[in-house]
């Protein structure tokens, strides 16, 4: 099944089972069904519950916040994640603040779906990975499925089980990608879902090299970078016999650091990769948390790979030079492997 199908089916299931669920956003109605076809068929089947809106992201999120305050379970779609900045005030100063401002007497169970990421040649303002701007927003949850996760199940969980505002990050390259059934035997990797810690609602999946007991290093990634991590790990093992364990996170914030720490500590070397800008990014936060929580004696080498401080070009060839690709992950991992502790 493709990621877009998984999300589409989840929305159909949510609409069928819970009348509180609504969808708001631009160009969502059939036959168009949204820019990435996630809402396809929904408006025909559930007239009046899919609201197509003017081009006004602040209003979309504001309406969603109001609906959530009044007991609905709204899902809002920002056509391109880049435009979520237009709704930043609604997210930072309203939706996430209301519960604490009103002494927890209100809840805002709002899901904001944001298609992010490059690699499709959409240029500087339609290709970014901007969720890291929201890492310092209290009371906001950021989640991102990868091709190893079940995106539909995650979406249902964020709509029904979360009482907070959720930024649901969908990598654009992921939409058309076949999801990998991790229960199915894989020639290179052994997959397992790590135990959720108390703060984590969304699973982290560990992809370890089959038949290898101890990883030489760990690569931590989420969303679209999962594929880069696994491709690099496969190559590093087949070419160099460097055993990389990939930890693919789906709960981006708050970080499931209790889940990640034991495996990172065991390997002693960690490469964190992200598609967002490296400076002040998700990897910086994760690195800091890993270091803060480690014992005095344990040695831990952390390196990060992310986007340079640069705008994303439109041409694929130039985009490839800027975005972190599997080749870059492979080289960074190899360098870290040969680095002495």
């Amino acid at each position: 099944m493709k990621c877009v199908e998984s999300l589409n089916q989840a929305l159909h299931h949510l609409f069928a089972t819970d009348p509180r669920v609504l969808l708001l956003g631009e160009d969502l109605l059939d036959p168009y069904g949204g820019a990435f076809k996630v809402s396809k068929g929904l408006s025909s089947k559930y007239p009046g519950r899919v609201l197509t809106t003017p081009i006004s992201e602040a209003s979309i999120v504001g309406m969603g916040t109001g609906l959530a305050l009044r007991g609905m379970r709204p899902v809002v779609e920002i056509m391109f994640g880049d435009f979520v900045l237009l709704a930043a005030d609604q997210i930072v100063n309203s939706a996430t603040k209301f519960p604490l401002m009103y002494n927890s007497k209100v809840r805002v169970p709002l899901v904001i779906r944001v298609p992010m990421g490059g690699g499709r040649g959409y240029g500087p303002t339609h290709s970014q990975t901007l969720e890291s701007y929201f890492n310092s927003t209290p009371n906001l949850e950021i989640v991102a499925p990868s091709y190893l996760h079940d995106p539909g199940q995650m979406l249902e969980r964020s709509v029904l089980s979360s009482d907070r505002v959720t930024l649901f990050v969908e990598n654009k390259l992921l939409y058309s990608k076949e999801l990998l059934d991790i229960s199915h035997p894989h020639p290179i990797f052994h997959f397992r879902q790590l135990e959720l810690d108390t703060a984590a609602m969304y699973p982290t999946i560990a992809a370890t090299i089959r038949g290898v007991e101890k990883a030489d290093l760990v690569v931590v990634a989420y969303g679209g970078m999962a594929e880069m991590a696994l491709q690099a790990a496969e190559r590093a093992f087949l070419e160099e016999e460097i055993a990389i364990s990939c930890l693919i996170v789906s709960q981006v914030k708050p970080l499931p650091v209790q889940v990640l720490r034991p495996l990172c500590a065991a390997a002693g070397k960690v490469l964190i990769i992200e598609e967002s800008v490296k400076y002040g990014g998700w990897g910086a936060e994760l690195s800091a948390q890993l270091h803060e929580g480690r014992g005095r004696s344990a040695s831990l080498l952390v390196r990060r790979l992310g986007l340079a401080e640069f705008i994303l070009p439109s041409a694929k060839a130039l985009e490839d030079k800027v975005l972190p690709l599997a080749q870059d992950v492979f080289l960074a991992a190899k360098e870290l492997f040969y680095e002495s502790r």
Binding site: R120, G121, P187, R210, L238, E241
Partner: protein
Amino acid sequence: MSHDKYTLAITPQLGVNDQVAVITDWYVKDGQEVGRGELICCLETTKASMDVEAEHEGVFKIFVQSQESVDINQPLGAFFLDYAAYEELGAGLAEQYAKKPVAAAPVATAKAVRLAQELGVDLADITVSGVIREKDVQEYAQTHGAEAVREMALELHPERKNVAVYGSGRGAYTIKENLSLRGEYHVVCYLDDDKSKVGVKDGVPVLHGSFLEGVAVPRGLCVALGIADASARRRILVRCRALGLEVINVIHPEAWLSPSVKLGCGNHIKAGAVIDTSSEIGDACIIDNNTTIAHDNVIESFSHLAPGVALGSSITIGEGTIVGIGASVSTGVKIGAHCIISVGSAVTKNVEAGMIVEGVPARVVGQRRSAD
């Protein structure tokens, strides 16, 4: 791409960023005659869809079905010269260009593949959970490889002492010939660490050096060292000792050794060599043709005295030292370990370890880079 009987229809590049397109509609049927400029199909990428015109004419064969994807610059069909050509080649060509199934996942790492090739191990024989690694091949070769060699049919002599000669070059052949002259030994095989040498040479099998244990131990073979490199002789001597294998001295019948000479093991003493009273030879030395070693000399292990070397008496030649052809050494001189005495030199004074000396009288001209 053009052929006598057909021309391929190539999927055009629609936009700079596309690597693949989907054929949404065929406007022509398989086997239909198509004219140049006629629309044949509609292609769609993430951003655009476009009708494709026929760039040639002929009987058209469809390779990629409607709603299937095709890589940019790959053929989506072909124009055949006539029906006969279409009938003859169409189906085969369509099959040839059909999307290749994804290659089976590799079962071994690059390092494992390389080692398996070197050792002649079939990866299909190794079962591990996951991907086969270099260490898996090593383990397999050490256990199963040696087992296979244990079973190998090697021709043993019923009366003579059976010998495995380590090395398979010209030195090893000299040893084989020398051994045959005494009627005491029989060479069963050569062993060589260079996989490319494995095969049959001088009428005996050449086996990979990793099979030393598997071949020699169960058959009670002794080993002769037929290698020019001193560090390799040392390494193999250590291995043989660890395995409890006898490493023999190979002495040409025309060499003369005083009865009071003390001899280690693994030496090769060639025709015409003379070793006189109370001289001592260590292990794994090569004493070449017409070398004259007068009385009370000490030749330490892994040394090589080249043809025609003449030693006075009470001389010490240090471990691993090479004395070149025709060089001579004055009585009482001590030459340190790992020296090189150049061809024709006359050594009249002591030489410190690791030196290269040359000339008459010999002077230091350099230093050996490593102890080996």
